[in-house]
Symmetry: C2
Subunit: 209 residues, 2 copies
Amino acid sequence: MATHTPEQLSARERLLNAADELFYDQGVHTVGIDRVIERAGVAKATLYSTFGSKDGLIRAYLEGRHDERAERINRGLGRFDNPRDRLLGVFDVLSESIARPTFRGCAFINASAESAPGSVVQQVSDSSRTWIHTLLTDLARDAGAPDPDGLGAQLAMLYDGAVVTARMDHNLQAATIAKSVATALVDAAIVPTDPADQRRSRRAPRRHR
Amino acid sequence: MATHTPEQLSARERLLNAADELFYDQGVHTVGIDRVIERAGVAKATLYSTFGSKDGLIRAYLEGRHDERAERINRGLGRFDNPRDRLLGVFDVLSESIARPTFRGCAFINASAESAPGSVVQQVSDSSRTWIHTLLTDLARDAGAPDPDGLGAQLAMLYDGAVVTARMDHNLQAATIAKSVATALVDAAIVPTDPADQRRSRRAPRRHR
DNA sequence: GTGACACTAGACAGATCGGTCTGTTATTGT
DNA sequence: ACAATAACAGACCGATCTGTCTAGTGTCAC
């Protein structure tokens, strides 16, 4: 609830924005509370009355990152009209994310590297990773993969590899490379169901269902 | 664990051992100097006369990690007698690394997540990543890949994905999954040179753009 | 008005950070 | 024997960390 004029952001929103930029860019452990409230232009007491602790702010930051990514992927997959393209389209959306100048890898992988197991980071991170894994498995099933769990696991791993490669090597083509691998996997896994179409044409846009 | 015999190892070795365990397990930024010297049983002045600064200790820790991994991979690949098995064997070695109870992902990816760009972490990390990338490219060339750079990049990405997946999901099968993908890629890319060996057991190889 | 409420500014506490310095002890090479 | 070296223990420094607390300001409902 914005307290006043809608053009001004609430203290909570300003804190979350500042935390998102600083935590994602420099790490949740490296960035201190003072830096966050300074950028947000908010009193320290407000942070603690809103989020309870730094861990609470970290949780909110990561949950926001997850929501943003899920929405971006869902929105991006709407461009495609068949299951195969939607499955591979996850890597197209990733490619756009990597291209953004603020890209600095996966917020969950990064935060996980600097926090103890069992922490709040692990919890949010686990649920977000489950979401992606489930998405890819479901898309693989829709695309007609005989073993959607196996293909989903392969593609999820490829997704991680692309994100890490892009971040570590500043490789803007990482998602493109990952998509080339994904395409090979999908084409190898999915055989056309129509017996008249049993030729080895991997570009067949079967329009069943 | 106090299994070390203090009089046998030099102060430098004890410091490096303690730093390796603590930094790798909990992060280079989370672990303070005091914790390292306490575990090593070494005076603080000794640390600073030996490594100069915490950054110097971090550099030595990462360089040790790189050397260890390179040696482990080189030793592991000696088991195989042909180029194709050596190329895929990188994932067998990774599988053994993941299975170790102390495994906590890639030291370079982890350290990189909690340190600024341009830091000493980035430097050592870059050289270690270049090593792996070069290794995979060379092995791909030895195995007869028509585009060893492309295949090497794909396999390096797969390697990253496996390490991250193993760490984040505690998935002990990550390297096995990665090897299954790698096998598909290698078999699709490499055509047997011997005309008498042109079996049609797999689908025809295809090249990505 | 008068609370209730949300927010700000900043002092403060206790701990920990990386790093320096003093002083002591044990083992060397010459 | 003696100087040099290497290692020890630990006080100390200034900075920074998370978190609490006091005090004051502005807005809104009633």
